[in-house]
């Protein structure tokens, strides 16, 4: 059976058909882009931080007395925290993934050379890597004799003298693509630093849109700032209790300090992504409303057309068309319109993506989203038209003789 009557009938409703095509195209373009934004944000939220997230309890301590020997204070604090029942290991660190407190250095491969990229510097006491549960995939841990103070009092000058570093796999691949990073020398400060180990992941304290979210360096430098974060490794169910006790014993040891943000790592991660979660909910509801409105529009117009054509349907039935034929007719008609809309939508989706990339820090639309979006819309169209089409196929041939 040829579909020429279909085309002929569509051409009688040019304006309506054009509107419907335009609506489907716009919906397709917007939904594809929204889906890609959601996908990107979800991917960011799922990035592995590289630490044992479920077993960490954190508390930040800021000593008000700056003249004191901070290293000795931290040691005293650590000894006290270690004595809390349920705490298996403790360490003092200057930053953590999602902590927002970011110290980045430009990394050069020759002295005073141009920086290839920037990477976060993480520093901590000797147990830090154990406590955080990081995965060393190559090389060795720091040796006790490699540790030096950060020397925050003199412009963090420890970075100019530190002998060794452990880097993330992502950073190693960026600095030395295709080469063995172990033993290579980098220049994060004035002096040469040898790479002695590689960890699989360690996210930076703040994520951005660039590919460098996992560019981190670990240094054997002891935090000697007044502001330090204590990390306690403990069983997940003990975290609350350990934090309460930690606050109490630290305040008891020295009340001349500010204790901030006692929290589990899980909590810190959740807080970090709170805005993204709101945004995802919002984007999801926007996409769903769009699809719903478009489906309602398709169904509304289809049922209107069915009503308008009752006589013609009756005649077709009277001259021999089966119910299936009528059903198929409306489904095909819908397929043609929505399909045309989806094709136009694909072009619009890319155009919209270009526009968004220009105005916001958004990524290129992954190509897979577009055909999937188009197909989804076609499917939605078929679903929306099913009701009216079934009603059309129920029109009895006797209608032809009336009116």
């Amino acid at each position: 059976m040829s579909h020429s009557p279909l085309i002929a009938s569509l051409s009688r409703h040019k304006l309506t058909v054009c509107l419907l095509v335009l609506q489907v195209a716009l919906t397709c373009a917007i939904v594809c882009n929204v889906a890609s934004i959601i996908g990107h944000r979800m991917a960011q939220m799922r990035l592995p931080s590289g630490v044992a997230e479920n077993e960490l309890a954190l508390i930040e301590s800021i000593s008000v007395d700056e003249t004191a020997n901070q290293l000795a204070r931290h040691d005293a604090d650590l000894a006290t925290l270690r004595a809390i029942p349920g705490v298996s290991m403790v360490a003092a660190v200057d930053a953590l993934p999602f902590s927002g407190n970011n110290w980045s250095n430009g990394i050069a491969l020759v002295p005073n050379g141009p920086a290839l990229t920037t990477a976060t510097a993480y520093n901590g006491t000797q147990d830090a890597m154990h406590v955080l549960g990081m995965h060393l995939v190559a090389g060795r841990l720091f040796l006790p004799e490699e540790y030096i103070p950060l020397d925050a009092a003199h412009d963090w000058s420890g970075i100019n003298h530190v002998p060794s570093t452990i880097v993330t796999r992502a950073l190693a691949a960026k600095l030395f693509p295709g080469q063995e990073p172990l033993g290579k020398v980098i220049y994060p400060g004035d002096g040469p630093v040898r790479i002695v180990g590689v960890v699989d992941h360690l996210l930076r304290p703040t994520l951005d849109e660039s590919e460098g979210s996992d560019y981190s360096t670990l240094f054997p430098m002891l935090p000697d700032t007044a502001d330090v974060t204590y990390v306690m490794r403990t069983a997940p169910q003990d975290r609350e209790r350990v934090l309460k006790q930690a606050q109490k014993v630290l305040a008891g040891l020295d009340s001349n300090r500010v204790l901030r943000r006692p929290q589990s790592f899980t909590q810190m991660r959740e807080d970090y992504f709170r805005r993204d979660r709101t945004m995802i909910t919002l984007l999801l509801s926007a996409a769903l409303s769009l699809l719903l409105v478009t489906a309602a529009g398709i169904a509304g117009l289809a049922s209107f057309w069915v009503q308008q054509r009752r006589r013609s349907i009756g005649i077709r039935r009277a001259v021999g068309a089966t119910r299936r034929d009528i059903l198929r007719y409306f489904q095909t008609e819908n397929g043609v319109i929505v399909g045309a809309g989806a094709v136009l939508g694909v072009i619009l989706a890319y155009a919209l993506n270009m526009l968004l990339m220009q105005h916001y820090a958004l990524q290129r639309l992954p190509w897979l989203y577009v055909p999937v979006g188009g197909l989804a819309l076609c499917l939605l169209g078929q679903l929306a038209v099913l009701g009216p089409a079934l009603r059309a196929s129920g029109v009895p041939p006797v209608v032809a003789t009336r009116g």
Binding site: T16, E66, V258, T278, G403
Partner: protein, 431 residues
């Protein structure tokens, strides 16, 4: 006649209840979503200092060395080095000028045994209070002599004042910040300009307030902690000419003075070049306050994206309604051609159908208003700083209806035009 059209409109809508309800719902959703976002934008792009903002300017110079790689942004971030800020402050070429930086200090309560707590505030110079018309509940700011003598004085905002002193008068009393005692000279009347325009703008400037203000030179003297973004290209620390971190604002009472100040900035830049500093081409800027907020993207990107999305949604909704209206109008082809045959002009038909789409638009607007209120309520539940500002005001209420009416009239135009071209009585033959 319009009243009659309105009655016929309602009765004809009654005849196709489902379709009418669908149209009202779709307009309502579109209007509701877009009005939620437009209202938020309206509130957030408001003037933080009405009556004074047009005299306030943010000067921008670029002290950085010539670019070494492509990764750094071409535009300077508007922050100043200590020497530049002090030179411009002491030049006194504007009606008022102030240098400032964000700070965070441990505050030590008077009662022994209570742990110190952190508070964020600002290190400023004397003109800050007069320039920004800061309202005092009691006391006053300080004079530039106090800046120079590194006076240990502080102005408290109402919240911190209440926290430290309750309801007792606090002027003249002492607050211990970090390791030094400060004398309270003034208490503010809960000053919280939104956004906090004078700070470094980073997309999270809404909802923040400063709880204390103390002289910048004193803070530098005591090495109090700076809070914010500092970028350095060489060593030397924060008072060196290699670190930008300070904000500098000027008050200029006329555009002529603003032009003169721009000239002055340019000559300052060239003068520094003569001393071997500031090697980039001298191109000083002077941005008005509102201009500055726009340039610095004070409104978060996520919100701008949400606004675009809601407008896109409205567009799809409108196209949908145009299609549905077209369908309902054309279905009444018979009725229309009878009316035309009885002598109605095209204009009459157009008007009648126009009134009908207005009725739908008004109903949709009402629904949209409800949805927008619901939307704003849900925004207020967000944890962001701007959330509490998301309130409907009279102008936005009015705006909702105007938008609904304009949208529905525009949506009705095309279908009405198409329907009024139905020739008289021709349709009768086919019935």
């Amino acid at each position: 006649m319009l009243g009659y059209y309105a009655t016929t409109a309602i009765s004809s809508l009654r005849r196709s209840k489902a379709l009418a309800a669908l149209m009202v719902l779709v307009i309502g959703l579109g209007i509701g979503a877009s009005m939620t976002m437009i209202t938020i934008f309206h509130v957030l792009s408001g003037d933080p200092l009405p009556g004074r903002s047009d005299q306030l300017y943010a000067p921008v110079i670029d002290p950085r060395p010539l670019a070494r790689d492509h990764s750094e942004s071409a535009e300077p971030d508007g922050n100043f080095t200590w020497p530049d800020a002090m030179n411009l402050l002491h030049a006194q070429r504007a009606d008022r000028q102030a240098v400032m930086a964000g700070g965070a200090v441990p505050v030590r309560p008077q009662q022994s045994g209570e742990l110190p707590f952190y508070e964020t505030g600002r290190y400023v110079t004397a003109d800050f209070f007069g320039m920004f018309k800061v309202p005092f509940a009691s006391g006053h700011g300080w004079r530039s002599e106090d800046d120079e003598s590194r006076a240990r004085i502080v102005v408290l905002n109402s919240e911190l004042n209440r926290k430290l002193f309750g309801n007792t008068p606090s002027i003249g009393r002492t607050v211990r910040l970090k390791n030094a005692d400060f004398r309270v000279v003034g208490v503010l009347d809960d000053w919280r300009p939104q956004p906090q325009f004078y700070a470094q703008l980073n997309g999270r400037v809404f909802g923040k307030t400063d709880q204390f203000f103390l002289p910048l030179q004193t803070a530098q003297d005591l090495n109090l902690d700076f809070n914010g973004r500092m970028s350095c290209w060489d060593s030397g620390g924060r008072t060196s000419e290699h670190c930008v971190w300070l904000q500098f604002w000027v008050q200029l009472d006329s555009t002529a003075k603003a032009e003169a100040y721009r000239q002055f900035l340019g000559s300052y830049w060239r003068e520094q070049q003569a001393h071997g500093r500031m090697p980039r081409p001298a191109h000083a800027h002077l941005f008005g306050l509102m201009d500055w907020l726009t340039r610095q993207h004070a409104i978060p990107d996520d919100l701008r994206l949400q606004l675009s999305l809601s407008l896109g949604f409205l567009a799809v909704c409108m196209i949908n309604v145009v299609g549905l209206l077209l369908a309902t109008f054309l279905r009444r082809g018979g009725e229309i051609s009878v009316r035309r045959a009885l002598g109605a002009r095209r204009w009459d038909i157009f008007l009648q159908l126009g009134v009908e789409s207005c009725v739908i638009g008004l109903a949709g607007g009402l629904l949209g208003l409800g949805i927008a209120c619901l939307g704003l309520w849900s925004v207020r539940q967000r944890p962001d700083g701007y959330a509490q500002l998301a309130q409907m005001d009279a102008s936005m209420l009015f705006g909702t209806f105007v938008l609904a009416l304009v949208a529905s009239v525009i949506a009705g135009l095309l279908p009405a035009w198409r329907a009024c071209r139905i020739p008289p009585a021709l349709q009768l033959k086919t019935q």
